[in-house]
């Protein structure tokens, strides 16, 4: 019996030692049997030495954007045979996977993801490289600098705290009110530019028992779009972020913050929102729009593509931005800028090569493929947008001001942003009153900065 106990004790100690030894090794960069050969990838420039770029993408391999990117990569390899790509189609969890990978020493050269997430997750943590020197270079075969081809405002919105640009967008999303032209024709109404015009459209439809808007009850991220856009219309860009960063919480005493919430509730009270909307679980909300049981939805520009197989044939997509409000600072021509793009990681040994690839992929022909093949807006200004997104693209190019989704709170203060989503969702679906909502937000903001 003693022998057994002793043996077990030895076993246990041995195991702990084994484990601890393994633990030490995590500090060293991993060579290992992984797919990442980083072979010969030192400071050698693009011409000459063989380089394999490790690219982690937010897309799943079966998505159209993945096809576009594959095209870009193969075009680049054709033009520069010494450069190959090792791509991981990581899906939307790319940042999570990246976190575990980097903490274990794996090598990744560059990745793409939604801009705000890149900024809040990587840029702020100092994991990326500033790209301003590359941006000032000219594009191959064109007489313009890289920096100048972007839709105005899209580079500037995601700069790091020191003003340097780390995120290169190749695709643009935005938030707009998407509507069904046929329904608008049926009621003989035009897209509004003021809130009162919009409410008038709503009553016209309501008279016929037809809801103007559909929503997804459980999509706090969608419903919050009403709030930060209304604040922008009332106060101008960046004001919600300011209020979120006000350690005294006094900003929430501004009556506009309450007014915006109340205006959202009037949408409900006036029957502008589809009945039972608070209980609609995505995708049931947009189903109503696709089936022409509602006229419009405030949501991101991915919607036309997302439901393209599900809408009735002959459905015509149009959009307008959230209208302006009486006495407000922001205009209905202010546009939410939601870029999606690349960053180069600071530990990459091939920064020049990657930057060259990114530049080459933003040629006019390549950028057009984003529009044509994936039904999205390209970050390059001189492309022709897909039909469903024409209104939104025009709005982008003629924007009077820009603001970030959620006014940038999701990327700068994600925890506050989660709390905001929660309380706003509760207010929007009628669980708490607008007054309670403002009180909670004020308290939460103060708490957050303690």
């Amino acid at each position: 019996m003693k022998k057994t106990k002793f043996a077990i004790f030895v076993l246990v100690t041995l195991s702990m030692v084994l484990a601890a030894c393994g633990g030490q090794a995590t500090q060293a960069p991993a060579a290992g049997a992984t797919e990442a050969p980083a072979a010969g990838a030192t400071e050698a420039p693009a011409t000459g030495a063989n380089v394999s770029l490790i690219y982690w993408s937010m897309w799943n391999e079966s998505e159209p954007q993945a096809d576009v990117l594959k095209l870009w990569m193969s075009d680049y390899t054709t033009a520069n045979p010494n450069v190959t790509f090792e791509v991981t189609w990581a899906g939307r969890q790319v940042l999570t996977k990246l976190q575990t990978a980097i903490s274990a020493g794996q090598k990744v050269d560059f990745l793409d993801m939604e801009g705000p997430a890149l900024r809040g997750g990587l840029v702020i943590n100092g994991q990326t490289v500033p790209l301003d020197t590359y941006l000032d270079q000219k594009l191959a075969g064109e007489d313009v600098t890289w920096r100048s081809i972007f839709v105005p405002g899209t580079l500037e919105e995601l700069v790091a705290d020191d003003g340097s640009t780390h995120v290169i967008p190749y695709e643009l999303l935005t938030t707009a009110i998407w509507y069904d032209q046929r329904v608008f024709d049926r009621f003989n109404v035009q897209p509004p530019t003021t809130w009162d015009e919009m409410m008038a459209i709503c009553s016209t439809m309501k008279a016929d028992n037809f809801p103007m808007f559909t929503i997804e009850g459980n999509a706090d991220v969608y419903n919050a779009m009403w709030y930060y856009t209304l604040i922008e219309r009332m106060e101008g860009p960046g004001k919600l972020l300011e209020a979120a960063q006000d350690k005294t919480g006094a900003a929430w005493d501004n009556p506009n913050f309450l007014l915006a919430a109340q205006m959202e509730r009037t949408l409900w009270d006036n029957g502008c929102i589809i009945e039972g909307g608070e209980g609609l679980q995505w995708p049931a909300g947009q189903m109503a729009l696709a089936n022409e049981e509602a006229a419009a939805e405030l949501v991101g520009s991915w919607l036309p593509n997302e439901v393209k197989d599900s809408v009735a044939p002959g459905f015509v997509w149009r959009s307008f931005m959230v209208p302006n409000v009486p006495g407000g600072v922001g205009k209905s021509t202010d546009v939410e800028v939601y870029p999606l793009g690349w960053v180069i990681l600071k530990d990459s040994q091939n920064q020049d090569v990657v930057a060259d690839f990114l530049k080459a992929s933003m040629s006019k022909a390549h950028s057009q493929q984003i529009c044509d093949m994936s039904v999205n807006i390209s970050a390059r200004a001189d492309t022709t947008p897909p039909v469903a997104l024409q209104d939104a693209t025009t709005a982008y190019l003629n924007a009077t001001a820009f603001f970030l989704p959620y006014d940038g709170t999701n990327s700068t203060i994600p925890e506050w942003y989660n709390t905001f989503l929660k309380f706003h969702g509760q207010m929007f679906t009628g669980l708490i009153t607008p007054e309670a909502y403002v009180a909670e937000m004020k308290a939460a903001t103060i708490d957050f900065w303690k």
Binding site: G279, Q281, L421
Partner: protein
């Protein structure tokens, strides 16, 4: 004598699993839980020691309290429903119904379907406009009770119903297995004495499998507190509404973020610590309640 001979086998039989367990489970767990005393973003940035700060913050954290409340609600209320129904069905299926295997299989089946599919159809059932639940109420004349079942205020009870639906099949299978071992003559004796199905179950089956039920309860408690998949599938476009949080979901949200990255691994570990602590306490409690001498038959 056999015992002494078997002693030789202790090391070779025990070593593989013990070593694997210690090296690849216990050690990372200790490391992981130890993180709760630090602040770390997961990248190779400084890991700062902050002592019990994380735990203090937890107490003030509304979202944590929601997650805690949900997890416990699931365990107690969900457990009540699950075991009430599972007991009833066990008594039914042991009272001589034919096709017992078929019913058992069908009831277990929800455990096999991927959570996303389960949640999607249930969301359609709950749908206030074309959902089956409101439709059914209409048909039987209770239409006025129809409502938005999955609205934020009610979303967690709605989730609990789904989890219960799945779990009832699972625990039914385990209860039936336990009840199966009871020799048939005990049942026959009971029948001769004139007991009906319910009495049979309550006075014969239940006492005989009492300690097994204790074990099944522990399994349920662990499964309820670790619940992640079903509630997570209620996310739209990657974000889970706070009302649907469970403790494990909150761990993942704080450690890895959802759409927006929130890298607070120390805080996430602290939540994990609390979770583990609750599991241990509840295990001891349950064991105490269901403790009984092992019956040999």
């Amino acid at each position: 004598m056999l015992n002494k001979q078997r002693r030789k086998l202790i090391i070779p039989f025990l070593a593989p699993s013990l070593i694997l367990y210690l090296v690849f489970f216990v050690y990372p767990t200790i490391k992981g839980l130890g993180l709760s005393l630090y602040q770390w973003s997961g990248f190779k940035l400084p890991v700062t020691f902050i002592g019990l700060e994380n735990f203090k913050d937890l107490l003030k954290d509304d979202n944590f309290l929601v997650a805690l409340k949900n997890s416990l609600f699931l365990f107690f209320v969900g457990g009540l429903v699950i075991f009430a129904v599972a007991f009833v069905f066990t008594s039914f299926l042991t009272s001589g119904i034919k096709a017992k295997d078929f019913f058992r299989g069908i009831m277990f089946f929800p455990n096999v379907i991927a959570p996303i599919a389960v949640v999607t159809i249930w969301q359609f059932i709950y749908n206030p406009r074309f959902g089956l639940l409101n439709g059914l109420l209409d048909v039987i004349g209770l239409g006025k009770f129809g409502q938005s079942w999955a609205a934020p205020g009610r979303i967690f009870p709605a989730i609990t119903v789904i989890i219960a639906w799945i779990a009832i099949g699972y625990y039914l299978v385990l209860l039936l297995a336990a009840a199966d071992k009871i020799p048939q003559d005990i049942y026959d004796a009971g029948r001769v004495d004139g007991a009906n199905t319910w009495q049979m179950f309550w006075l014969v089956t239940l006492p005989m499998i009492w300690d097994v039920i204790g074990i099944i309860m522990v399994l349920w408690m662990i499964s309820a507190l670790k619940q992640f998949e079903i509630a997570y599938a209620f996310s739209s476009t990657g974000n889970v509404p706070v009302e649907a949080y469970t403790l494990p979901i909150y761990v993942v949200v704080m450690g890895f973020g959802m759409r927006e990255p929130i890298y607070k691994l120390g805080y996430a570990s602290a939540i994990g610590c609390v979770l583990l602590f609750i599991v241990v306490i509840l295990t001891l409690l349950i064991r105490r309640i269901f403790k009984r001498e092992n019956l040999q038959y």
